[in-house]
């Protein structure tokens, strides 16, 4: 293998692993917190859509308006993420019952069934898990296809770039299989808090990027956005707890 080919493999492997980790984070989050079946159905549907798009457009896939897709997916993820985070913060600060989510989820399913969106009992899909997993995998998958086509075409070796991408994606997927069991043992509201932080962080990142902003450090900005979002959310829990405690003290005094 020549030096240029080694460089191509390493570049594609790293870039695709980053995209795959982003997709995996989202799939793990909704799978563990809500529904594995619906999350995997979303992944399957996204892979199918990705295959159809790639087969139909071929190299022309690089002409797709990725910015528009990012801003729509990022905006929706941010709205979903903020809904999750809002509820998780209210629960963590004692302003909302810890176990009301199951009832709300069942209400939502009943409404969805009434609307003909879901099947009957046992056959239904959780629309949140499906949609979030579908969007995350489709967007990241498209980015992997872009990377393979652009890097591969530059070095006149698309098959080698595709092989490197496949190794990266399969490696990250295997890591996900290992990670899902320990994640399943995390308490429910902690998990939902984490999912809210991750969806909100990805929503901020993709939404801003899709709207034309450039993040300092590119994809590495996520390494700052995620902890910053977590710190803000924990700060809000602390502030709400202090406010609630102060009110209770004032009432009992």
């Amino acid at each position: 293998m020549s030096g240029a080919e080694v460089g191509l493999v390493l570049s594609v492997l790293t870039a695709c692993a980053v995209e795959a980790v982003e997709a995996l984070t989202i799939v793990l989050a909704v799978g563990v917190a809500r529904s594995w079946r619906s999350a995997f159905t979303g992944v399957g549907a996204a892979l199918l859509a990705l295959a159809v798009i790639t087969a139909a457009l071929g190299p022309a896939v690089t002409a797709l308006p990725l910015g528009v897709l990012r801003v729509v997916v990022g905006g929706l993820l941010l709205v979903f993420g903020l809904q999750w985070l809002r509820k998780a913060i209210l629960r963590a600060s004692g302003l909302k019952a810890l176990h009301d989510e199951l009832a709300a989820f069942e209400e939502e399913r009943a409404a969805a069934r009434a609307a003909g969106v879901l099947g009957g009992p046992g056959r239904g899909l959780d629309p949140y898990s499906f949609t979030v997993a579908f969007k995350g995998v489709l967007l990241e998958g498209l980015e992997v296809v872009f990377i393979v086509l652009t890097f591969g075409a530059n070095q006149h070796n698309v098959p080698l770039a595709a092989a490197a991408a496949a190794v990266a994606v399969l490696g990250v997927a295997a890591a996900g299989v290992v990670a899902h069991a320990p994640l399943s043992r995390v308490p429910e509201n902690t998990l939902k808090f984490g999912v809210g932080v991750m969806l909100t962080s990805f929503g901020i990142f993709w939404g801003a990027e899709g709207a034309g902003a450039h993040w300092p450090g590119g994809d590495a900005a996520l390494l700052a956005i995620v902890p910053a979002t977590l710190a803000c959310a924990l700060g809000m829990v602390a502030a709400l707890r202090a406010r609630t405690d102060a009110r209770r003290s004032a009432v009992s005094a």
């Binding site: 801003v71 990022g74 905006g75 929706l76 941010l78 709205v79 979903f80 903020l82 809904q83 985070l85 809002r86 509820k87 913060i89 209210l90 302003l95 939502e108 409404a111 969805a112 009434a114 609307a115 003909g116 969106v117 629309p127 949140y128 909100t200 929503g203 901020i204 939404g207 801003a208 899709g210 709207a211 034309g212 902003a213 450039h214 993040w215 300092p216 900005a221 956005i225 910053a228 979002t229 803000c232 959310a233 809000m236 709400l240 406010r243 609630t244």
Partner: protein, 64 residues
């Protein structure tokens, strides 16, 4: 018609959720980001600031 109404209600709840101001705020923040970035100015900071503001305001309202 009732199925259509039920589907509309489901879609609203699915996309917008408990606080419609959050969804509206996200759309406004993305639009401002696009305008500022389009003018060639640094715009990456707008979404994080808007997100923190929207979440804090929504929690404040919910807490009463």
């Amino acid at each position: 018609m009732s199925r259509l109404r039920a589907f509309g209600a489901f879609l609203w709840d699915f996309v917008v959720g408990d606080d419609w101001r959050i969804a509206l705020g996200v759309v406004v923040a993305l639009s401002v980001t696009a305008v500022v970035a389009g003018a060639g100015l640094s715009a990456w900071w707008i979404m994080p600031v808007a997100t923190v503001g929207l979440l804090a305001a929504s929690l404040w309202r919910a807490a009463g």
